[in-house]
C-alpha cells in the first residue's frame, strides 16, 4: 500500500523581492532563453505520513512551521501515489 504523501510548496509573497529568482532569470537571459519572463523560487516539501493524513494538522504544520506567514504563502496538496 502506498504511503500517503503530502506536498507543500512555499513561495515568497509577491511583494517580497526574490533575489534567487532574479538571479536565475538573469542567467537564463544570458544563456539564450529570453522567452522566460519571470522566475520565482520557493521551497518544495514532500511529507510522508502514517495512516490517514489529517488535513487540518498538516495545514497547521505547513502554515506555521514550513512557511513564515510574514513573508511566505503556502500551497498544500495530497499526492497519493
Amino acid at each position: 500500500m502506498p504511503v500517503p504523501q503530502v506536498v507543500v510548496d512555499v513561495v515568497l509573497k509577491p511583494e517580497i523581492s526574490d533575489p534567487q529568482g532574479q538571479a536565475v532569470l538573469g542567467a537564463l537571459g544570458r544563456l539564450g532563453h529570453p522567452g522566460v519572463r519571470s522566475v520565482r523560487q520557493g521551497k518544495h516539501f514532500v511529507l510522508e505520513v502514517d495512516g490517514d493524513p489529517d488535513e487540518a494538522e498538516l495545514r497547521e504544520i505547513a502554515e506555521t512551521l514550513l512557511a513564515n506567514p510574514v513573508i511566505e504563502d503556502v500551497e498544500l496538496r495530497l499526492a497519493n501515489d
Binding site: 515568497l12 523581492s17 538571479a23 512551521l65 513564515n68 510574514v70
Partner: protein, 223 residues
C-alpha cells in the same frame, strides 16, 4: 547582574556573547534550549550561529524550542532580550520582533567590518551610545536581509523602532538599510551585526560593540 546566553543546537557565537557579557562586567549564565528554566537571569542574549543548521529557514526551528516559550512570556513582562544575527532571526520567527530576515540580495554569505549608525540610544541595549553615533562592528550572515511589507516598515519608522542602520554600504540588501529593530517598549532588541565580536582590541575591528552589553547593565543598576 546575571545575563543568560542561550545555546541552541548549532549556536556558534554563544562563547563570544558570554565573553562580551563578562568584559562588560556582567555575569554570563549558560542556558540550554531544551530546558524551560531561565535560571533567574536579569536579561537574555540569543547568540549568533546556525541553529538547526538553519536548514528550513534561519531561526525557524529554534524559535519553537521549549526555552523560547519562557523567553517570550518573560519578554512580554519586560525581561530585556537581545538577539544577535541568528538570535535576531529567532526573535522574528518567535514573533517578538516584527519583520523577517531573508537571503541576502547578492546571495552570498558576507563577512565584513561594517559601519552602523545608532538611531535609538534610549533602548535597554543601546543607552551607552549617543543618538546618531557611528560605530564599526562585524557583520557576517547569509540570510540577513531585513524585509517587511512597506506599510509595516512605515509604521516601524514612524514609531522609531529602527535601532541601528547600516552606513557606508548595505551588506545584504536590507530594506531601508535596517540593521536592527526593537520592541515597542525598547527592551527587546535584535540586530544582524555582531557587537560581541567588537569588544577587544586584539580580536575585533574596534571595541564599539561593548556598549550593547554595558547598556543593559546600566539599565539594571538604574532599575
Amino acid at each position: 547582574m546575571r545575563i543568560g546566553v542561550i545555546t541552541f543546537p548549532g549556536s556558534l557565537d554563544d562563547v563570544d556573547a558570554a565573553r562580551a557579557v563578562r568584559l562588560a562586567g556582567g555575569e554570563p549564565v549558560t542556558l540550554w534550549h531544551a530546558d524551560d528554566d531561565l535560571r533567574d537571569v536579569d536579561a537574555v542574549v540569543l547568540p549568533g550561529g546556525f541553529s538547526y543548521g538553519d536548514y528550513l529557514r534561519a531561526g525557524a526551528i529554534a524559535a519553537r524550542a521549549p526555552l523560547m516559550r519562557s523567553v517570550v512570556d518573560r519578554a512580554h513582562q519586560g525581561l530585556p532580550v537581545l538577539g544577535i544575527c541568528n538570535g535576531f532571526q529567532v526573535l522574528c520567527e518567535a514573533g517578538l520582533l516584527p519583520g523577517a530576515l531573508t537571503r541576502n540580495s547578492h546571495l552570498h554569505f558576507r563577512n565584513r567590518d561594517q559601519g552602523l549608525r545608532v538611531e535609538r540610544a534610549d533602548t535597554t541595549w543601546t543607552s551607552s551610545y549617543t543618538s546618531g553615533q557611528q560605530i564599526v562592528v562585524p557583520v557576517k550572515n547569509g540570510e540577513g536581509r531585513y524585509v517587511a511589507a512597506d506599510p509595516e516598515l512605515d509604521r516601524l519608522e514612524g514609531e522609531g523602532r529602527v535601532v541601528v542602520r547600516y552606513v557606508g554600504g548595505n551588506p545584504n540588501g536590507s530594506s531601508r538599510d535596517i540593521a536592527g529593530v526593537t520592541s515597542a517598549d525598547g527592551r527587546v532588541v535584535g540586530l544582524m551585526p555582531h557587537p560581541e565580536h567588537a569588544v577587544e582590541d586584539l580580536t575585533g575591528p574596534s571595541v564599539d560593540g561593548l556598549g550593547f552589553f554595558t547598556s543593559v547593565l546600566a539599565a539594571a543598576v538604574a532599575a
